[in-house]
Symmetry: none
Subunit: 307 residues, 5 copies
């Protein structure tokens, strides 16, 4: 156990040793094990965007085993997916990589301006599949946010009692926000704070822009001169918003990019700003495996501080 | 046990000794311990208003430990916060100050003219974190008030069976009220009564103005010549509305003020009018710690009758 | 919070902040508050030995209120009693002293060479009465020891989940032991170990003699030259047996003595040997209140190191 | 509400207002209503001794309605019986007299030197039948006492949560006691104490003799010169044993006597000694109704202090 | 994941991926990780034999942290202990080594010719402490064997549903066996079979002698010329008895030996005979840490095939 991992665990004093053990499993696995940084492979896009949109670019990715293998070979800290994908590989790959059961999911078969997600996995499922954590999406800003917060409250309570870790995808969306607002610095910071207040051990948000969505917030950002000009500064601010860095905060890789340099710059900014790593889905599994391994490797090099 | 605390406990004859014990913990802790008065530090603004708006004015306040330390050092009766903030310090500060778990919360990511709050904490959480009480917000006047009343009913029943105290934030809001009406004397009195009727042990309302919102109420206030000209008179009236003073009624400190004299005058009016104290959030944690300690100290002096 | 109390709490890393908070309530209350030492008043003798044998020596002690008052006035850390005695005073004395609900009890209406105790209180009872802990007796060496261990396992699990502390009275008795063996150094050490392994936060044993009961143990005591000649040495050994001092270990005052010097010497030995204090029943409530207060005061002086 | 009833209710501070209300129903009903004294008609002998032994002496008593009518006409405070007898009259006499559901019963079809009783009624039954209380028999001294204590613990917890009163028949019996010991002063005192410690609101014991059963007790009775020469002195001692008079303690009428003077002398002794009344079964329903009414009336006169 | 670990996991086809994951955690941790061999540190002797007999030889072992540190430093696959020992270190050492919660335990305070063990831990406990497995002792041959089998059945069912592994200590004892019979080749083989049939994932037995206890068995051993002359042959036979090697079978280190060569020869025999490793308690923690590390290291060298 490295001093850094021990330090991170010390932030979770209200949790039982079971949850700490599973956090340690996530932090100590893979190429970044022990650094306090994480690169996680998430594959919920089959549910969230549909299979062809998700997997046709790299057809082997239709096969659930592909993602286990990718995550293992790349040396990711964990692999996160909905129930079905995990069930399809959990026996064959038992013990090879920590698993995160995505416990709610939403599809895009309806165009809801106020999105929500349905419960698709349980704590019992996570235990029988050998998962280290459950994952849960909230949509701060949606008219359904209250339902999601309430569901997370109940699920997190049960997960913590059973010694699991809790990862929250906190994605601002909904009729109260502009499209630009979904990644505004104030809104992403707010989303990180809400997830932390709801008891998340690990929080996943999108990389914010310098846009400020709410007038009441703008006054504060300007008056206090909060530095948000660079991506690294913005990351540092979001880290502050997640309990002054005392909660593990990771960033989503976002939409598929064609230009890896942009992506790598984002990782560098996250690292420089004190972020804890990335969760990289489409930019890994939508390209050929060799290219994916290369990208994930470069991301890990950045977070390991060796590049 | 002072006679005053004993007298206050005698009002709660339907409660079991467990809830009385936790009320006593709140009333007997800190600099005002034993006086029957309370100054409580609440920090739910990270959730309610967003982190930058809440903490950027005093950046150490991003850290959840800051608020435990502030409440302890100031000698507050209790510290109230959502699940995440309490989880982040409950072990390190176990036994140092009574805790109140805010069990529902709302954000401002949507502009709801009829606001509500989502469940974010449970009685089980309160017990495992060592809390003396749960806190719950209701919005009398909102289209969702019935849901909130119903949720409070269930939560309070469970909390009382388990020996916890119940603190209700009763904030009139919603499409049925004007903005001015939210702090109108008749409406605040009504909100205090509703919280008391819902079984609250401790009720928190805003300081009322002399405005009267409802015509039917205005006739009575005028006919009966209810004195509401001064802040102290209005406090006394609200105290009457909370079961003739037989429920603990405290007042929120309200928005950040730049002029402490205004704030101190409010505390003096609350004290003079028979109020039981204040719950002071933004006016304490949004200023440097030394200044916060000074303000909280002056508030306590007023409630202790020594200033 | 004194450094010593903080240190003691640090030993209980598997417990939630609720149980730590209740341990802190016990450790921080009364004249010994903060020292890490405890003097507890237990009054279960009405059940365990019968009312006349227990209270006729000091008739005010028939009244359940008497014991609350004695414990409070003496400045004890806590008052421990069966359900009925606690129910008879819990409202009147709510919040005045931490309570420990004795959750099982046995009478002496039968002469069982293998004694047991019946369940007489529950975690629900403890919560509704505002208790900080439950107490439970085990009889290592009795033919019924397995039933008692199993009942304690279930009760302790529930108590810990609900944030209570767990105090175990570990009294070796039964057909496998000689009368002398019940207080033999090896057997008392064994009893302390068993209670600790069963998850007790606080362990209560009798002061051991230098007798060694088991041949297999005798060989080790002699070969390793474990010092057990003086009472203080024996206390130190029992403290070692309770996880090398990392569990709170207190000693029962034993049968009524007429010679206080003997008793005070015992307290001095417990203090010198690193014991955490005493639970003093018959030697306090079976004498007039003034004399009881004097004795308890002298005990506390010893444990405070001021005498 | 008379001051005396109010005083009695004040002893039950741990109970909810529901249990107090049902205690008040018992204390305020019938000819002794408001005096703090009770005469209760119990008819469980059909189960406990068999029907012919119980009812053939007065054949109308085979009819369950007979006992309702007797209790009502006599002005008893309550009528206590097993499930079947209550079910047979609860509708016809609904609201006419407080009912006590005897929740366990034993028969004499086996000659157990260590008797027990089987569960025969529940809290649910008591509520659906409109009962004010449940009744439960324990046999301190029986090898099965632990089972009975444990069953009572669970039943009383549920009854109290549901606002019922709890009446405990505490009858020392079993292989650990001599026949004479079953009514020995020390043993009856012990039985009263055990029932009180188990949380009984109302305790029923047999009238004790001056015999002392246990040597350890004898020493105390003699050394402390506890007065037990007269029946009234013995009653006073048993009252002391039941929390210094702070629990309602009533006495069973015992076996059928042919000489009413003996019986009336017993009532006078109970009254003189501070007992709270009698539960009179066989001596009422085993004689013609007119005679029964006369006897019950004379008992009530004694307890009312008018004779 | 090595092919050997993958092969071992393939034997447990009825188990869910959660239990496989936890088996993999055990098999992949420490110096023997990946070899399919295990060396486990068990410390239940404080409960099973008493603290002085267990720890006085090496006093640092009184401290529960010592054993965590020893197991970690030695590179054991897992550390197994009762509830109290695990609770005392589970937070500080979270994530550092797989834990096995011993879920039943027995003491030696009674000389039962038919021994049993009491429940001392639960599946809930194992989950909240972050354990990979529960451990359970059965005594085939004891009059209480049926109770133990039944308890194991229920516990194993729950553990497997929650994704834990199940380790069974199968120790023949009881009035049906001679002392010599407890380690007889036929009886140890029988004990291994019973544990396997009860659903154990991992079975722990003592190293057998060439003695044959049961006449009916002797005939077969002789007729079939089962080779049992050497320790390695006997190990191979026991491995056969545990589902032809398709269950993980490990051997206890037995009583403290002064001659390490004997012990190392045993490990060599276990290895040669196809055993899966050793569980080494007294021979490790009862000697100074450096010596313990040396011995455990030599054992691991043997099982790794490097010595």
């Amino acid at each position: 156990m490295t001093p850094r991992v021990r330090e991170i665990l010390s932030w979770y004093g209200a949790d039982n040793p079971g949850s700490l053990t599973n956090l340690a499993r996530l932090l100590n696995h893979g190429r970044l094990g022990g650094t306090g940084k994480l690169v996680i492979l998430p594959v919920d896009q089959g549910f969230e965007h549909g299979p062809a949109r998700s997997f046709a670019l790299n057809p082997p990715a239709y096969d659930p085993r592909y993602h286990f293998e990718l995550a293992i070979e790349a040396g990711c800290n964990a692999y996160a997916a909905p129930l079905g994908f995990l069930e399809a590989g959990a026996r064959d790959f038992a013990g090879e990589i920590p698993l995160i059961l995505k416990a709610n999911d939403g599809d895009v078969l309806r165009d809801d301006k106020d999105p929500t997600q349905a419960p698709t996995g349980s704590v019992e499922d996570a235990l029988r599949l050998g998962c280290a954590a459950i994952g849960f999406t909230i949509y701060p800003g949606s008219a359904h946010e209250g339902d999601l917060y309430g569901q997370l409250r109940a699920l997190a309570q049960e997960a913590k009692a059973k010694g699991l870790a809790v990862v929250v995808w906190s994605y601002p969306r909904g009729s109260g926000l502009t499209k630009e607002g979904e990644t505004a610095i104030d809104i992403i910071g707010y989303a990180a704070q809400i997830a932390a207040q709801l008891g998340a051990h690990i929080i996943k948000v999108k990389l914010p822009t310098a846009h400020i969505e709410q007038e009441a917030a703008r006054k504060v950002y300007e008056a206090q001169k909060i530095p948000i000009a660079t991506a690294a500064e913005r990351v540092r601010h979001i880290v502050d918003c997640a309990f002054a860095g005392r909660r593990i905060l990771i960033f989503s890789g976002g939409a598929t990019v064609t230009d890896d340099d942009t992506l790598l710059d984002e990782f560098r900014a996250i690292h420089a700003g004190g972020g804890f790593g990335s969760i990289i889905g489409r930019n890994s599994f939508q390209r050929p495996q060799a290219a994916a391994l290369q990208l994930l490797g470069r991301a890990m090099d950045i977070y390991a501080g060796t590049s």
